[in-house]
Symmetry: C6
Subunit: 103 residues, 6 copies
Amino acid sequence: MMMKSIRMAGFALVLSAASYAEGQEAWLPSLITQTPQEGFELAVTLARRGVSTTQPDRDVLGAGRPIYSHDPDSLIAASQVIAIHFGTIAAANDYWRDRADEE
Amino acid sequence: MMMKSIRMAGFALVLSAASYAEGQEAWLPSLITQTPQEGFELAVTLARRGVSTTQPDRDVLGAGRPIYSHDPDSLIAASQVIAIHFGTIAAANDYWRDRADEE
Amino acid sequence: MMMKSIRMAGFALVLSAASYAEGQEAWLPSLITQTPQEGFELAVTLARRGVSTTQPDRDVLGAGRPIYSHDPDSLIAASQVIAIHFGTIAAANDYWRDRADEE
Amino acid sequence: MMMKSIRMAGFALVLSAASYAEGQEAWLPSLITQTPQEGFELAVTLARRGVSTTQPDRDVLGAGRPIYSHDPDSLIAASQVIAIHFGTIAAANDYWRDRADEE
Amino acid sequence: MMMKSIRMAGFALVLSAASYAEGQEAWLPSLITQTPQEGFELAVTLARRGVSTTQPDRDVLGAGRPIYSHDPDSLIAASQVIAIHFGTIAAANDYWRDRADEE
Amino acid sequence: MMMKSIRMAGFALVLSAASYAEGQEAWLPSLITQTPQEGFELAVTLARRGVSTTQPDRDVLGAGRPIYSHDPDSLIAASQVIAIHFGTIAAANDYWRDRADEE
């Protein structure tokens, strides 16, 4: 259920104003996902959350408008944060090893 | 209890002057948290503490006024520090695996 | 099967428009690979996916044309993201230890 | 005992001239600390030692005067080095799990 | 055998045109090495491969001529990628612990 | 014995011309050290080796004269590479836990 909403959350670097307003609510109940791909999407969510946590001012973030970086270096740096979180999530899910044969 | 105060600590990059003055007291009694989300918030706290430890001069830090970075690259870099700490905290909590079914 | 398509995916920093359009489909069913080399190629795929996830606007990404960076620092940074993902994938495959004697 | 002196060492980015002169002596007998907070302080010490090891010229380092960076990016980078060392120290102490209930 | 060729591969940041042309062949059959030093050399190989994978255009890479960076920061960044790969390879080899007494 | 020579190797960012000339010889027989401090010194050695491996041209490196960086950011970046290697070496030595009580 939670994973579903994450998968539909779009791809902006920061969360939308709406999802930020919901920031006080529970947004990370578990690190366990059904598939590696959902784990990757959760890693993207955590990377975004780290950005919006540091700069919660919506005016600076563009009143909820996503910051789409055009700088390749920024994109690579964001990819690195995702990679670190994905490593954590993969370990949490024991690397989805029990699912390796199913697919 | 401790987690609660962390959750209400706001989102500035550095601790407020008040919390810095309390810096000599115990501020990190444990890495164990109830939920992954509290673990993420603790990771944010550790990232901030690393910044204020390196530059404790309150005048430079703006006399306690939070340094809100407007540079996307800085925000991504801060997100990366959070990611590293979150990996440590997640391991400390055995990835909250025993809570995965509760939610 | 999946590994094969990854191996033929070419070497651009971002996925082609075609593969991005397929982005809603399953693209990461497993972290398990037959060899370390396939694991490295999967790490490259994850690094690219992290870039295209952050900036999905095809116009910015050049309408699918790969972003070939000419900046050595960018290339090293991309290599670092690959290294982090490779560490995760290697752990998932128990470092392909059971294959060490075969070759 | 060692931990005590570390805790009083102040917060400069590099060690003072005095402590550097003592650099030939034993300064890291153990990674084990009593609390996570002492572990964090030890991580700060290791991050500083990495800086002063690379540039031991006291004239460049300001004859022992601490280099207080005013650049937010430098502060975040220093926080990242601390985060990496803290991960190592936390693992060494098995994340202080046996102390989680005491506090 | 493979390790030998790696040890003689020289020290350029990217693979030569010749070795790149061989890129479709198996180049990473195993992460297991005889010594920590060979493991370090393999880490250098993986770091280079990450660079040449991202930018396979031989014209950009100088038609196989190695990119020797003169920028200290680039050299340190490259050293960091090597460090990450070395950590993976060291774990794969169980840190060569069983060889510690032999030498 | 090896550790001793490492401890006396000085603190330059890159190896001296002399030690580089010895680069073809065995320089890393083991990751096991007697103390955490020797482990840290070995991490410094590995960080330097990563730099000199990427740029072996002695003329660029100053004919063996150490590159002392005056840029705080470079010093912090070098400290980060050391931190990554120290994490690997600490794990190899099981964090020197069996020595924690001796000192």
